[in-house]
């Protein structure tokens, strides 16, 4: 009746229309889309998809045919073409640096893909799906939480590279300030990542020009939080805030009183519980409340802090560089970013624009010391590079060898090329390279020194932190767990609310609630560490802590650590 042929109409002798009818087109589309739908469906199950997955890595195993996948330039780009090298001196230097190693390792290729290795979720999905690059920062796995990173390594998210480290004699190459930290990266005697960089951690950056303009004194390494508060208040004007802080800013003065999720005073060993740890915020509640109230008065009475929940970290950094904030907390490497126009926030370029050497504009000092001499809030940090656990032994050997080479001879070669190109030591000793991973004897030939690049005063404070003995951490003595336990989220929530919310909080009630919440969460987890092993590790940890504080801060040891240990920790460990 509608003029379109079908079986019944044909049987009645109706004429078929010439060419494709609308129904024919629709049928074809249906059949075609069904076929097309099968492709993504099959690719979902990994069938027939060789281009996007880590097929190159899986195909490794032949001695001379290894393809290492890198994500952009982390840690190394793919080998640049001649055209790219001609237009980019940095890439040319890189190609020249890596070539000797490639000559010694024929058959190894570097393939670059587009992948954000700093996206934790994407990285975890890629690792589980077998499509992750060959190299990625280990810290991303645990969002820079040391215990989470170790948990992720223990659960197989990174390759075991212990043998490769030994084969390349890596530990003999490491600088003294790196070696102690490197040893803390072990997981039950094994290593699951290679060293990638070292820096002396966070501290307070300050505007020397604004301080001098106000007729004030620069801070020193032994300054206290009261000193910081007074300085911030004196620097605050209608246009300038004394200090800019991120939303977690309250963590800094609290940490100076040994407040913490993992290390001291808030976490107690509790082998009688399922998780082996419990949290305590009420024993010293008045002390914590006083400290929080002190900081809130700095925020709401002095009004010397620039902070807002909606502000991103780099907004604070930008305001510091612009001079609308006189101090800011950040990693020491922010001071040593090169003046290259491609770097968005650069103190050195800002100093150039002011027509002054950086030593006259920006300064850096470790975090202030706590009321009782606790001075371990600025400490050395080591970035590590994990290798894809899907790589076979040959690929692992080559990846580790390449990385260890590029941290040594490859590093020297690129630095020399950077100086030849720019004649500026700030392009040589840039970022964390001011404290290289390797000993000086492994890095001969790099022009100049970090002091010549960034000034004596800055490097003096950097080396002060780098050479400070490391405070012992629990995971050095107690095996990490594969299962992530209770998170620090309730502590972070409480801390952020106390920092930002103007309404007067009942801090004592908050502390009690916080303790209940943390312990309720902990009670729902079961530790995989046997009690006897936990007790032995915990005892070793606290003994190391006692020795550390007795030597490095007798005041803190006598007034805080020992009484706390004797009354709360020792009885728990029997």
């Amino acid at each position: 009746m509608d003029g379109y042929p079908d079986a019944s109409s044909l049987s009645h002798g109706n004429a078929r229309r010439a060419g494709m009818t609308r129904r024919d087109v629709l049928r074809a589309l249906a059949a075609g889309s069904t076929a097309l739908a099968g492709v993504p469906l099959l690719s979902t199950f990994g069938i027939g998809d060789a281009a996007v997955t880590a097929a190159p890595a899986r195909a490794l195993g032949q001695a001379v045919d290894v393809t290492l996948i890198t994500a952009a330039d982390l840690p190394y780009p793919g080998i640049p073409t001649a055209e790219v090298q001609a237009s980019d001196p940095g890439m040319k230097a890189y190609a020249e640096a890596i070539q000797p190693w490639l000559d010694e390792n024929p058959g190894v290729k570097l393939e670059q893909i587009t992948f954000d290795v700093y996206d934790q979720e994407a990285l975890l999905v890629a690792i589980s799906g077998g499509t992750a690059p060959s190299f990625y920062p280990a810290d991303v796995l645990g969002e820079w939480d040391e215990e989470l990173v170790l948990a992720s390594e223990k659960s197989g998210l990174a390759a075991d590279v212990t043998d490769q480290i030994a084969q390349n004699d890596l530990e003999a190459k490491l600088a003294d300030y790196c070696l102690a930290l490197w040893k803390t990266k072990e997981v039950e005697g094994r290593h699951y990542a290679l060293p990638y960089g070292y820096n002396c951690g966070d501290g307070i950056h300050y505007r020397i020009d604004l301080i001098k303009q106000a007729g004030l004194e620069e801070p020193t390494v032994d300054w206290t939080w009261d000193d910081l508060r007074n300085l911030a208040k004196a620097l605050t004007t209608d246009e300038i805030k004394g200090i800019g802080m991120h939303t977690w800013g309250l963590a800094l003065p609290l940490a100076a009183e040994a407040w913490g999720y993992t290390v001291l005073r808030n976490r107690l060993p509790a082998p009688e519980t399922s998780w082996n740890w419990k949290w305590d915020f009420t024993t010293n509640a008045e002390e914590w409340a006083d400290r929080i109230a002190w900081f809130r008065s700095m925020m709401f009475e002095d009004q010397s802090i620039l902070a807002d929940i909606a502000m991103e970290d780099d907004e604070i950094d930008a305001q510091f560089i612009q001079g609308t904030v006189a101090m800011a907390n950040n990693n020491s490497t922010y001071h040593t970013t090169s003046p290259s126009p491609s770097v968005e926030l650069s103190m050195s370029r800002a100093a150039d624009e002011l027509g002054k050497p950086i030593e006259e504009v920006f300064g850096y000092v470790p975090h202030p010391v706590g009321n009782n001499g606790f001075n371990a809030t600025s400490w050395g940090q080591m970035d590590t590079m994990a290798l894809n656990p899907d790589l076979d032994t040959t690929a692992l050997d080559k990846a580790a060898s390449l990385h260890i080479y590029m941290m040594g001879p490859g590093f020297v070669s690129q630095k020399r090329a950077a100086y030849e190109e720019t004649n500026d030591l700030r392009y040589v000793w840039t970022g964390g390279d001011i404290t290289p991973l390797y000993k000086p004897s492994e890095l001969e030939g790099i022009p100049g020194t970090p002091e010549e690049a960034w000034g004596e005063a800055f490097m003096k404070n950097v080396r002060y932190v780098a050479n400070r003995p490391l405070m012992p951490w629990p995971h050095w003595f107690i095996p990490p767990q594969a299962e992530a336990g209770p998170s620090s989220t309730p502590m972070d929530d409480a801390r952020d609310r106390w920092f930002l919310d103007r309404s007067e909080p009942d801090i004592m009630a908050d502390l009690k609630t916080l303790e209940e919440t943390m312990n309720q969460q902990a009670a729902s987890f079961t530790s995989e560490i046997p009690d006897d092993q936990f007790i032995a590790g915990a005892k070793a940890f606290y003994e190391a802590q006692a020795a550390y504080w007795e030597e490095n801060s007798p005041e803190f040891y006598t007034n805080v650590f020992k009484p706390w240990y004797d009354s709360l920790v020792a009885p728990a460990l029997g």
């Binding site: 989470l148 992720s152 969460q521 729902s524």
Partner: protein, 351 residues
């Protein structure tokens, strides 16, 4: 074609046409194959990207959900852990608050605005529809509002202190106000107002004229004509609004990352936090709880709310209709006014 449809309709209604009742013809094999091919891509897509992840997540919630290590069955451990987790309870509370604010400000207000707008001249209505129709990126708008809320240099603070002479306001930094300020931008975009306007424009003018003749006031006309006619749209959009609010994530993550102190941490944002903490099993359990909660709300809603404007005697039981004695298209707007039945029945909806 039309006769075949008529045969199917009559067969469905159960009415007997004559002694030789026509059975629904069985489709030919080829026709069935064609039908299957048409439907297959959508079914495969839904199975792959809808049902498979749902079922896989559900099964994963009973394990320790290791990424690469062997997965072990843990039973209800994660369920019990999340059931007693104070942060999960807080997240559900925040989500309920956010959903309530969203529905109140971005759902109810557009209805009122749309109804009032219908009283304005036609060119005003067109301009408003044009404004609503301009595509705006939610994320871009959220980023802009984030800057405007800044307590140091945001325009809202300037208005509060310089224009209204109020003390400095905390905006997003206040645990008690943060959810309101997160919802507030949605108020300005008027959400589904465009749909309401379009629906109201579809109501025959004669309904209102008849009501006016009978002496109905403006609010009486709104209550007895506009609202009932909007009921199906309101019902549908309310369900979408409830489901969407329950899954709130991006606004909170962009503006406050769940702060201050978890005051704006919704369930999905907490789920995201659990993923970052490598607690994958707990995250899937939270997703299951959210799914069950939303399903329960929708089921209760469908059970209790009658969204058919033409058959008030109809009752819906779990999506099945118990047919009334009057066919749908003959009901008319019988509830417009108590005395306008005759005038209403002469007009057919949609004509």
């Amino acid at each position: 074609m039309a006769s075949a449809q008529a045969e199917v309709t009559l067969a469905r209604s159960g009415a007997r046409t004559d002694e030789t009742a026509v059975a629904v013809p069985r489709q030919s094999r080829r026709r069935r194959l064609e039908t299957g091919l048409f439907v297959l891509p959508a079914v495969l897509f839904q199975l792959c990207w809808g049902w498979y992840p749902l079922i896989a997540a559900f099964l994963l919630s009973f394990t320790n959900a290791r990424v690469r290590s062997p997965i072990a069955f843990t039973g209800l451990d994660s369920y019990l852990r999340m059931w007693h987790d104070p942060l999960a309870i807080q997240a559900f509370r925040v989500t309920a608050l956010y959903a309530g604010l969203t529905i109140l400000l971005t759902f109810v207000v557009p209805i009122i605005v749309a109804i009032l707008l219908m009283e304005m001249p036609r060119h005003a209505i067109r301009w408003m529809m044009l404004l609503w129709f301009i595509p705006l990126s939610v994320l871009a708008s959220t980023l802009v509002f984030r800057y405007m809320y800044n307590t140091q240099y945001g325009i809202f603070q300037w208005v509060a202190t310089e224009i209204l002479h109020l003390p400095p306001q905390p905006f997003l930094n206040s645990a008690s106000q943060v959810n309101f300020w997160i919802v507030f931008p949605g108020l300005l975009f008027f959400g589904p107002g465009l749909i309401y306007i379009a629906t109201l424009q579809g109501i025959p003018r004669s309904y209102y004229e008849a009501a006016e003749i009978e002496g109905a006031s403006f609010w009486r006309k709104v209550w007895t004509i506009s609202i009932p006619r909007l009921r199906p749209v309101i019902s549908m959009l309310l369900i979408f609004s409830i489901i969407g609010s329950a899954q709130a994530f991006e606004l909170q993550q962009i503006m406050t990352d769940g702060g201050p102190g978890g005051a704006s941490r919704t369930v999905v944002l907490y789920l995201y936090t659990l993923l970052q903490d490598l607690r994958f099993a707990d995250a899937t359990v939270l997703g299951v709880y959210l799914f069950l909660g939303v399903m329960a709300i929708v089921a209760i809603y469908r059970l209790l709310v009658n969204d058919d404007p033409d058959a008030p005697t109809r009752r819906r039981w779990f999506g099945l209709s118990r047919p009334s004695g009057t066919p749908v298209h003959d009901a008319g707007a019988a509830s417009a006014t108590g005395t306008a039945d005759g005038a209403q029945r002469r007009e057919q909806p949609g004509v």
